[in-house]
Subunit: 392 residues, 2 copies
Amino acid sequence: MTSYRFARRLGAVPPSFLGTLFAVSADPSVISFAGGLPSPAVLDADGIARAASEVFAEFGPAALQYATTDGHRPLRAFIADRYRRRLGLDVTAENVQVVNGSQQCLDLFAKCLVDPGDSVLVEAPGYLGAIEAFSLYEPSLVSVPVDELGPDLEVLERIVSGSRPKFFYAIPNSQNPSGLTYPDGARRAVAELLDGSGSLLYEDDAFGELFFDGRPREPIMRRLPGQSVLSGSFSKVLAPGMRCGWILAPEPVLAQFNVAKQAADLHSNLLSQLVLMRWLETHDLDAQCRRVATYYEQNCRALLDALDDRCPELGHTTPEGGMFLLARIPPGISSLALFEEGVRQGVAVMPGRPFYLEGGDDVVRLNFSCVDPGSIDEGVARLSRALRALRG
Amino acid sequence: MTSYRFARRLGAVPPSFLGTLFAVSADPSVISFAGGLPSPAVLDADGIARAASEVFAEFGPAALQYATTDGHRPLRAFIADRYRRRLGLDVTAENVQVVNGSQQCLDLFAKCLVDPGDSVLVEAPGYLGAIEAFSLYEPSLVSVPVDELGPDLEVLERIVSGSRPKFFYAIPNSQNPSGLTYPDGARRAVAELLDGSGSLLYEDDAFGELFFDGRPREPIMRRLPGQSVLSGSFSKVLAPGMRCGWILAPEPVLAQFNVAKQAADLHSNLLSQLVLMRWLETHDLDAQCRRVATYYEQNCRALLDALDDRCPELGHTTPEGGMFLLARIPPGISSLALFEEGVRQGVAVMPGRPFYLEGGDDVVRLNFSCVDPGSIDEGVARLSRALRALRG
């Protein structure tokens, strides 16, 4: 029997809940609010198929060849143009690196910034994929509580001036897991607080195209030029399985990021970049985003109505966009117990623990993007039965 | 002006020569032996295009959805079956993880194994992408000289019993950069030497399908079950731009590798996996490999003939497959000088330095896969003029 000498960093990764989740979501009798997928109903497979066929006709074998590490240049230019036009960011293609979905930004950015023991600041609750990715670089993770008003500014200031974190990782738009969006004032305050502090801002904008009211929110990056990076992705609005995201960064940061990207996998899938670029040239991305956001808004309203109606004892966030909301469980019931009893009743919710460095057992995340709209009310009815069973 | 506090590991990466190379390869008047691309002449774009169209027709939006971290199961099973059948390896789909080209294996495997300062053993010369990827985990890299007889076994034994490296990274088949293939005896000796040593073997098999004689060589893994991993890829025989490779590993290693893969980018491109699987179901991979190998063999022979004819002062390896050979430059001429004078004469070769931890300035790498067959003789004539110019 061989014994393996794995690296120490693997011990820093929190245990994953995904295996349990997959087992649950494979059972068709369970109504699942536990997942995090976009709805297949809004993915434009026909449009992508046509784009692919046009790409093969135009490029032939060149669509299958090795490519540059930074990404397909027209796609980088499209992404930069859109940020300039839509959000007033002062960026060009030179500030854009294409990656395999924005999850890869988490890994590569941490790789560029974090030495073991460095302080890194995350939100509480925060995106579990970020906590996992960062953990492998053995940072000292600290968290700042986030609620409807944005991050707790007192805590943020204390941590930034105290341990001078390498960066603050935040999802200001329709956060996963909470669905919370920073108010405008909180964005200004975060920018002022970080400005000149030596800590960078990592603004994860996975959901900024999915506001129900269609109104773009100002990225904090706009007030922190040179001191922030922003990541985005086609995963929530076009095609998650094509793994195409990007990072927007000052050129000195991008130069290092590029070294890490090249070492990690040379470059992102060229065929996918060409196909997505062709789709973008021949379709209206704004219209697609509105279509997705409208679909999710209807689901979200149905879920909120059902929760208020059937589970009034659950406090919950009220998302302005995105795919998730967070519900607070009455005292005395743990999120893991609710998960387990929920599955017995035929409904799955995501326990809160993995979204926090400590605690979190008093909340659950509910996804509304990938649940059958006709099942939402029944799912919440089952959740209500699970709550009653646990209290009874 | 913001000053950035990058991680220490970035300082460990050797400077990249790629920028210079790209500039040279953009000039159509330069005949380039410096690159490393497969020939577009052998990429089956029509077949891949048909496979893509069939995948969209069958899967629709499901082809664009998030997927599991370990990879598309039928593809994993196909890969395992092929190793069982072709090379007698005792593996199943449970031993296979799909990644973004085998470059990603280098990154993720090192991430799983290497703590800063750990000893890691590479070949000299060795694959520069591996040296870059490993460097970011701050190992103590040591190298073992490799020639026509395989790795220097005395040096290998001394290092393995001395610093007990976490692993030995080797490309036993048609190595990049040298084109060398380990003889059967060397494979047995390496297996015996590593067996029970505590050091793993990382067998990079990027070129094993491209032997000119079509005969598979026995992987060292076969003699080191439980103590080795093997990586492969569709990049050299089907579609590099689709970034689809894999690692074959014992399950306890794969479980950790999977954690690193999930943190790195959740999963590899699903659409590409489905398209490649469809191609594999509807085409003969063996025939495709023979087609590629035959094309490269003709180019290789033309290059060898031209070298022997026009540059007899260059010693060189004689590849049995793959895409590269290594040439030794006469004393007194550096590989960098030959690169620069070559470009002036209209030919590019890859200087040897990046393939060695130390030295290497007396060799150049010549690629024969991606040069126009009609330009090979003229390219070598220009190389001969560059050599004459340097000897003055």
